[in-house]
Structure formats: structure tokens, C-alpha cells
């Protein structure tokens, strides 16, 4: 039976894992390669590394980080942040990533999705979408607005129609972050996640708002998520993917155990 995936997410700045709320007040949370290996050892089904270094010089640092992180990592490894062209993606794959996640650049030029998919296969393209409910829209959830640049810039695009376009262009998965929930630890936006998951035929990874095991049970049930990103709850040893999955199994969620 297919299992629900628990994905550990590392936000990386200038080669170090950082934690902060909404990318401010960053706190050093260790070495990416060490952290990724620890998460894999402790049962994470997949690792996502999101580079939030916004500088050009940061590219080389990122590739070094990806190379070091990938070396001894034998679970799926996705890298996002600053991938603007198919060449950028090729370099990240060459460094050892299995998937790339694209966000702002894909909204600016959606053919980027087609281009990466053609060269590396749809399974290698994750389209990350940051969306915020739009109270003024006819359907505030399905018409949640898509933002870029770390949630600073509205695009006018609506979450469901953008997710569908991404799928049509050959995205293999959608990584959906609810900006309303992100950083709150008050739970995933299950309605938003379900609206997107039911509108596309590709897997949807839910992100933003995880604070308790119950939040994951909800997003896999009501939210119809295929996978969920767990970031802050793992840092500083609060919990491990394994202990999270053991709790999920007790609640009837199918997960990879033992792991």
C-alpha cells in the first residue's frame, strides 16, 4: 500500500541550515549534510533543501552544499531556491538532486516546467506554490492568490488554475504552502490543500502550519495530501520523523514503518 510521505525540509542560507519565522530572525540550525543524514536516519521519507540565499554568489555555495548533502543520502532529495533556467536545474541535478522545486521562475516563464520535464522527466519537477486565501474572491479557497518572492509579491494567479497549468506542463508534484498557516503551528490549511489535491492528478505535498501530530492526521485525511512537509517540528530535536510516523500509524495513517 502506498504510504503518506513525511518530508523533512531544510531552509538553507549561505550553506547553513537556518530557522526563523517568515525568513526573519534566522537562527543557525546546523550543517545541511549532517542534518539531512540525521533526518534520513530518523525516518524521513524524503529531504527537501530550500536555498533562501538570494545572491548570485550563493549559487556555487548551493551546488557545493547539494553535492555534500547528496553524497551519502539514499532517500529522494529535492532542491529548490533560485532555479531560474533549465541550466540551473541541470547543475543541481548534476550535483546529486533527484528533483528540483521551481516557484517564482516558473510563474514568470511557465515553459521552464516543460523544459526541465523534457530533459529530466516529470518526476524530477516539483512546482512550489505559495498561496494566500483571497477573501474578496468568489471562492476564497480555490481562488487563493499565488505569491512569489518568498510571499512578498502577489501574482494575480489563482491557486487551482495555476496548479492545473503546472500539471499540464509536466510537473510531477505540487508543493503547496499556505501563507495563512505558515509559521503559525496552528495546523495546515486543509481546505486549500484539498481544493488543489482534488483538482490535479499529481501528488500534492502540503506545507505550512504543522505543530502537532493531529495536524498531519488532518491534512492526510481532510486535506487529501499525499505528503506533508515538516520543518520546524523536527529542528532542535523536538521530534523525529520516526516518532511522528509512529503516532500517525496509531491514528490509522499508512506510513513507512519501520524506517
Amino acid at each position: 500500500m502506498i504510504t503518506k510521505r513525511i518530508i523533512a525540509c531544510l531552509d538553507v542560507h549561505a550553506g547553513r541550515v537556518v530557522k526563523g519565522v517568515q525568513f526573519v530572525d534566522l537562527v543557525d540550525a546546523g550543517d545541511p549534510a549532517t542534518q539531512a543524514a540525521r533526518h534520513a536516519r530518523e525516518g524521513a521519507d524524503e529531504i527537501v533543501l530550500l536555498d533562501i540565499t538570494a545572491t548570485h554568489e550563493g549559487r556555487q555555495t548551493l551546488l557545493d552544499t547539494v553535492r555534500r548533502t547528496a553524497r551519502e543520502l539514499f532517500v529522494p532529495f529535492c532542491v529548490g531556491g533560485g532555479i531560474r533556467t533549465a541550466d540551473d536545474a541541470a547543475q543541481v541535478f548534476d550535483a546529486g538532486a533527484d528533483k528540483v522545486s521551481v516557484n517564482s521562475a516558473a510563474l514568470k516563464d511557465p515553459t521552464l516546467i516543460d523544459a526541465i520535464g523534457r530533459s529530466f522527466g516529470a518526476q524530477a519537477v516539483v512546482v512550489a506554490i505559495d498561496a494566500r486565501r483571497d477573501p474578496k474572491a468568489a471562492d476564497p479557497v480555490r481562488d487563493a492568490e499565488v505569491f512569489v518572492q518568498g510571499g512578498r509579491k502577489p501574482t494575480g494567479r489563482r491557486v487551482v488554475e495555476w496548479a492545473r497549468e503546472a500539471e499540464q506542463r509536466g510537473a510531477g508534484e505540487i508543493l503547496l504552502t499556505s501563507m495563512d498557516s505558515d509559521g503559525t503551528r496552528a495546523g495546515f490549511d486543509c481546505e486549500l490543500t484539498a481544493a488543489v489535491s482534488e483538482s490535479v492528478g499529481i501528488p500534492v505535498i502540503a506545507s505550512g502550519g504543522a505543530g502537532t501530530v493531529g495536524h498531519f492526521v488532518d491534512v492526510f485525511g481532510r486535506g487529501k495530501a499525499d505528503a506533508a512537509l515538516a520543518a520546524s517540528i523536527f529542528h532542535f530535536g523536538v521530534s523525529s520523523a520516526r516518532s511522528l510516523k509512529e503516532e500517525l500509524a496509531k491514528a490509522g495513517v499508512s506510513v513507512r514503518l519501520p524506517c
Binding site: 500500500m1 502506498i2 504510504t3 503518506k4 510521505r5 534520513a40 521519507d45 547528496a70 553524497r71 551519502e72 539514499f74 532517500v75 529522494p76 541535478f93 548534476d94 550535483a95 546529486g96 533527484d98 529530466f120 522527466g121 516529470a122 518526476q123 524530477a124 510531477g172 508534484e173 492528478g201 499529481i202 501528488p203 499525499d226 505528503a227 513507512r256 524506517c259
Partner: protein
């Protein structure tokens, strides 16, 4: 331990090479040097992406060289599209023949409400006697990402259930294939690659 890894420009090889190195194998990559296939001790055909990409194997003469190597008894492992290529073909690219070592066709998952591609960790029902999957216990999980799959036949070494039962692994003597990605399947995947690396005609490990 030397392994010849075939590069047919379908996706990237980095993960497979990393896993082979980790297990102490020396991996030699070729995208068309037939001599490297003729002298191969073991062959791995990875592959993520589209079945049509296997056309390159025909164009470079690798298909014939691999067929001859298999006939000599060289252990062969196809991964993902590399496994599907062992069959007669796939509905993903009907004009492109596979190796035909197994006579059946690969096809898209049947219409259903489930998501396709099948992405994630799923379990294996291993058939008795599989040498590739020796010591894989019931309920161990491996990582899949694919939309097409091979049928369950007498050569199926493991079945996985998603929408329908399909061939997660195929095995007949020295010719083996896995639909999942052992290089991305944690300790279970490494164990399976290790079984392949220690495979010999005599059966001693």
C-alpha cells in the same frame, strides 16, 4: 567489483553512481562504447523519464551489445525505464521496441481515482526464490515514481499494489529489473543493489 552503467541520456545517473560507489563498486559509465559492454562484468541500465529515450540504445548499437552480454551470462539490472526496456515495449512509445527479453508489454496504469504518477514508498510482495530480493522482509518499503508498469507474469520477482497489482521486480537468471529506485530506497534499496553486486551464476553470495 566493476559495473558498467549505461548512459542513454534519460535523466541523471548521479544517484545510481553514488549508491554503487557507496557499496564499493567501481562504476564505469558509457553512452556508446561497445567495448565497455563487451568486457562488462555487470551491467546496470538506469533510467528515469520517457520510454522513447531508449531509442538511443538502438542508435548506438548498445542494444545488440547488451543482448550479447546477457547471452554470455553477464548479470544485468534495469532500473525503472531500464526495467521496462527488458519487455517487448511500452504503450508510452509504441513505435519503440524494447529488448524483448520478456515478451509482454508495459502499459499506463488503468484509469482510476488514484494519482498517477505513482510516487512514494510502497511495499513489496516478494516471490519465493528471488535472489535479487533475498532478505527483503515482508513489509519493507521502496521508493517508486512512474506512470507505466510491467504486468505480473511468471518472471515477476515482486508484486506491488497500486491501482492494480504490477511487477515491482522481474527476474530470470542473470536478467533482473526493478520498477522502483533502489538507489533512493534507503537501507532496503542498498541491500537489493548489494544482492545484485554479489549475484553469480553459481548462486554463492
Amino acid at each position: 567489483m566493476r559495473v558498467t552503467v549505461i548512459d542513454y541520456k534519460a535523466g541523471n545517473l548521479t544517484s545510481v553512481l553514488k549508491a554503487l560507489h557507496h557499496l564499493g563498486a567501481e562504476a564505469i559509465v558509457t553512452d556508446g562504447d561497445l567495448a565497455l559492454v563487451e568486457s562488462a562484468e555487470r551491467i546496470v541500465l538506469p533510467g528515469v523519464g520517457h520510454f522513447a529515450a531508449t531509442e538511443r540504445l538502438d542508435a548506438t548499437g548498445l542494444t545488440g551489445a547488451i543482448r550479447a552480454a546477457i547471452a554470455r551470462g553477464v548479470p544485468f539490472l534495469g532500473i525503472c525505464v531500464g526495467m521496462q526496456w527488458l519487455y517487448a515495449g511500452s504503450s508510452e512509445a509504441p513505435e519503440q521496441p524494447g529488448l524483448g527479453h520478456f515478451p509482454e508489454q508495459c502499459a499506463h496504469f488503468a484509469e482510476s481515482t488514484e494519482k498517477v504518477p505513482h510516487v512514494g514508498w510502497n511495499s513489496l510482495e516478494v516471490k519465493n526464490g528471488s535472489r535479487l530480493l533475498a532478505d527483503v522482509e515482508p513489509g519493507e518499503y521502496v521508493y517508486f515514481t512512474h506512470s507505466y508498469r510491467g504486468p505480473v507474469t511468471s518472471d515477476t520477482a515482486a508484486i506491488t499494489h497500486y491501482i492494480e497489482p504490477f511487477a515491482a521486480a522481474v527476474e530470470r537468471d542473470n536478467v533482473m529489473g526493478v520498477q522502483f529506485h533502489p538507489e533512493k530506497s534507503g537501507a532496503t534499496g542498498l541491500k537489493i543493489l548489494c544482492n545484485f553486486l554479489s549475484w553469480s551464476a553459481e548462486g554463492s553470495k
